[in-house]
Symmetry: C2
């Protein structure tokens, strides 16, 4: 079958400078914001006329960090504790025959800054630098099927309680809100999803690090909560 070539229309700029810690689906952490920077020749204002009347949009993107891996017929979804295999087409893993992703995002605004057309987005689950192939308006009458049944992932994963040690608390309080918006709520929201790889769950008390922008967030997981121990520069 013939293949098809596509050129990205833009690039995601997000707080997620590594894959670890990214929410496993969009919308789980509203404070996870990003900008989609539209590249030429796609950055004509009229190409986006009317989009600001939509609250949400779809992003069709490339899992660029998954490129160049051979695909496997089955994957181990984190949802199943990493010890059961499901078909790659019954999962949303980025390691798939065509590493194309699709995410719904909240549209927070459209602006031009230093000549670059930017869409400001919320609730995202995308790595910084993600190439975006297309955007489309979200149409609830066609796209929202609340009664759909969803096999092994019927609802959002349960959230873990998150507490902050004094140093981490102080860093959040003093952080520049322009550079690190909603830092504490963001960290709490992300860690509540328990971002550890499934196969590491059970190793309680072991320290983990998560990167956001140029920050390293150190935390430990106990049986009933997650403790943010410290936040420092990378």
């Amino acid at each position: 079958m013939r293949s098809f070539r596509f050129q990205p229309i833009g690039t995601i700029r997000s707080c997620f400078t590594e894959k670890f810690g990214i929410p496993r689906q969009p919308g789980l952490v509203p404070e996870a914001r990003a900008a989609l920077e539209i590249g030429p020749p796609f950055d004509k204002a009229e190409a986006f006329r009317g989009l600001d009347a939509f609250s949400h949009l779809w992003l069709i993107f490339v899992f660029h960090a998954c490129q160049g891996h051979a695909w496997k017929a089955t994957v181990r979804p984190p949802r199943l504790g990493g010890n059961r295999r499901m078909g790659v087409f019954a999962s949303r893993s980025g390691f798939r025959p065509n590493p194309i992703g699709q995410s719904v995002a909240k549209l927070l605004g459209i602006e031009r800054r230093k000549g670059i057309l930017r869409l400001r987005l919320g609730g995202i689950d995308l790595l910084d630098g993600t190439p975006v192939l297309d955007i489309k308006p979200y149409l609830p009458y066609a796209d929202a099927i609340p009664e759909a049944t969803a096999g092994y992932a019927p609802e959002a994963p349960a959230a873990m309680p998150v507490v902050f040690a004094a140093q981490a608390e102080a860093v959040c309080r003093n952080a520049d809100p322009a550079a690190y918006p909603d830092l504490k709520v963001l960290i709490a929201g992300l860690l509540a999803q328990d971002p550890r790889p499934a196969y590491k769950q059970g190793h309680e008390g072991k320290p983990f690090g998560m990167r956001l922008w140029d920050l390293n967030i150190r935390f430990r997981v106990s049986s009933d909560r997650i403790v943010v121990e410290s936040i420092g520069r990378i």
Copy 2:
């Protein structure tokens, strides 16, 4: 920016042998069924393990009939009567910089017939022969946002009443249900969407033809209803 190349995993076999008459969004006509035929090397049964526990899936596909057209910054959505321009990124038109589409479909079954792995789908809006790049399970907790606001397309278009003349009625009654399943309900559902191009609306009484499989469905539109006048072979 670097470009990306993708190879389709399969091809849609649908009743829609031309673009005219295809529902403008998925889900509007549940009887619009199709099969997605998976091509090698993607047709391994284990790659679909677990998918049958999901009621709906996403199809990421190529608008292959829109390939090779230069994109324009604005389009005229049928929803707006074809006389107002919206940004191409505020529309779901197939004529877009990267002609990639995304549709949700009901998963009716997975089967292997004559050695070909086929997903049977309902509520589709896809032309016969559409190349499919990826499928993903529909996750209502992430994908269903009933409260989203949607600019100029807040809800499904109003349906028109459809009546059948005697010849059309008889053809539907006598049609082989294996070859033309639910023919009358399908035709009524499709025509209720008023498939005429927006710029032709107003030309009441003019005859139109719509192709389904190898059938030509002739109809006229009056101010308050659509009359299916005759059904014949092409």
